[in-house]
Symmetry: C2
Subunit: 336 residues, 2 copies
DNA sequence: GTTAGCACTCGCACTATAAGAGTGCTAACA
DNA sequence: TGTTAGCACTCTTATAGTGCGAGTGCTAAC
């Protein structure tokens, strides 16, 4: 038994009905509303087949059918007709204007703003930073044995870390050391810088001793550059969906949202291109009833972060996928 | 009619019972469990008085009594017996060790960690920064007409802002300008700096023209220094309380948590000293069934931020008040 | 002032019932 | 052979009715 054109049309109709109504779809209503031109009995037969093939499920014997994850996957991969209207498309393109100016703003407000537009819980992941190339380095004294190491990267992103340095160093020598570092490190990636610093620490030659605790510095850099950050916005949005009317579900969802590591790995999974993860595909038990739609954005030359939304598997995929892609593009423009 | 000692004891017993059980407290159970040595009838009489005086409420005529906000206020102000055990106290004192090192860590993890300990939704407010005094200033070039303005304050907090500067300025002149600024601004508060910059912009003398758009800079500083930041941790905790079993309530709560401005003003209300806001006292409709317990922490010389928890009005006030105070003190030590 | 007793109230859990939606199967039809 | 109409059956959901129990207020006695 294979999925012929009519089965596909029926499946699509069921999915789209279910996405809107959140109630199991019956054969009778479907034959009336979907305009397929066949009777409910025929649809029943097809439904029975689709159920057998794993595309539909019945909550109980006398209820209508509900699409399975397999059905959503098929829908996302092969069906998905309409996306946005022109007006919506235009709105998405200009959405970030005057709201997001730099990475800081993005982290602080991005998720919030995206969630506002989509009415889904939104996620924003910063670009992986260990691949950024150093364009200049400067040491700023901040008093009693501490200095601020400012690293400007080629895409204009600025990382800074407070370092513990030898108390003997005055402003001018720090400035000099900064210039020296700047020359040596220019063009290297943050990861290479880190490894270089670890190397210095190991050999402990004259240069290395200038700063006390080079290894420590490298460690701090590792912490800063590897730990990509993710922000969550509109967490409460999930509570508008009847799927989360039970507190216990909402609780599990919310608790998971607080696990940044988990969110980061979730977003990383689909890095670089728009992507849809359905239910179990997320790989996170607490999100096994959720779908995640992500889209990349670029900062400078090829460093990509990701934005995403998360909601019940019953999601207007066509709409949201296109929306996220557009928002990612709009964001890339804002940030470059 | 006034609140005599026995009425107080009864009220206290009711409050403490209700905090644990979350069910209206009846006269019979109270006379048995509270060890007051009076019969249920007597308690009933007293309860009737307390109800009349506004300390107790009845959900319906044949239910037990529930403490009103007025009762909680009385409890917090005049009663509140036991606090923490010695073990808990010790744990609180050493709780932050090796977790929170600087302001960044505090913002990133503080709320999360406090919520973990208390099982309440936690809030962390950064110290108000416009009162900080400048100890040094440095300009770091970051390429094509942009510079990073690093302001180190007396308590070691570092604020940095990316500025748009004239493209004609090379590294050395920026460094010089930085030194110049440093001398002029040293000892001023960030607010004074801001006003000074606005003044420069207004008079537009020779010094001012060095940086293009001084007013812009001042504006950016205002944005950075006035907008104190608040982070939320353990938002899901509220969902463990039966008061929030209804999604609509949880939703309102969660939505309000996303309004940072609201949270900031909430935390600011009780700046400087441990404080308890009960129900309507919060001044926020969405939190009118919540209580907020806050405690201050200090960074450096007298600049205070605040930590807090928020939960249902039915809260173990004695316990939590002491806990938050201790945590605030522990935090102050970590950060100085 | 305190207590025992008693009638009364009212929410809540439980049961029974009816309604409605939807299915699967069978038989007839094109 | 595919499609359709009809029908019996299933199962959820909503509604109403019922009994129980917790708790109160009042009264009268101690």
């Amino acid at each position: 038994m294979d999925v012929d054109a009519r089965k596909l049309r029926i499946l699509q109709a069921i999915i789209e009905d279910y996405i809107l109504s959140n109630t199991p779809v019956g054969s009778r209503t479907l034959s009336k509303t979907s305009g397929l031109g066949v009777s409910s009995a025929t649809i029943r037969n097809e439904m029975a087949d689709l159920t057998e093939m794993g595309y539909l499920m019945q909550p109980h014997v006398s209820a209508g059918r509900v699409p399975s994850e397999k059905a959503y996957r098929l829908y996302v991969t092969h069906l998905m007709p309409e996306g946005l209207t022109d007006a919506e498309r235009e709105r998405a393109r200009t959405f970030f204007t005057s709201r997001i100016h730099d990475m800081e703003d993005l982290l602080a407000q991005g998720a919030e703003v995206i969630s506002e537009l989509t009415h889904y819980t939104a996620l924003v992941l910063t670009p992986r930073q260990s691949d950024l190339k150093v364009s200049r380095v400067q040491l700023v004294p901040v008093g009693e044995g501490r200095a601020l190491l400012v690293i400007v990267t080629d895409s204009g992103i600025i990382r800074d870390t407070v370092l513990r340095v030898s108390g003997r160093l005055d402003d001018t020598s720090l400035y000099t050391i900064g210039r020296m570092l700047s020359e040596r490190l220019q063009g290297l990636t943050l990861r290479q810088v880190r490894e270089l610093l670890y190397g210095y620490a190991a050999h402990s030659d004259a240069d290395a001793r200038v700063l006390s605790g080079i290894a420590d510095l490298a460690g701090q850099m590792e912490k800063q550059t590897e730990s990509d950050r993710v922000t969550v916005g509109g967490a409460h949005c999930i509570l508008y969906y009847p799927e989360y009317a039970e507190v216990s579900r909402a609780r599990a969802f919310m608790a998971e949202l607080e696990d940044r590591d988990c969110l980061i790995s979730l977003m990383r999974q689909c890095e670089g291109q728009p992507s849809v993860l359905i239910g179990a595909e997320t790989g996170i038990p607490a999100f096994s009833d959720c779908s995640v739609i992500t889209a990349p954005y670029r900062v400078g030359h090829g460093h990509t972060g990701a934005i995403g939304i998360i909601g019940p598997t019953r999601m207007p995929y066509a709409h949201m996928t296109e929306l996220m892609t557009l928002l990612g593009e709009a964001l890339s423009e804002m940030l470059s």
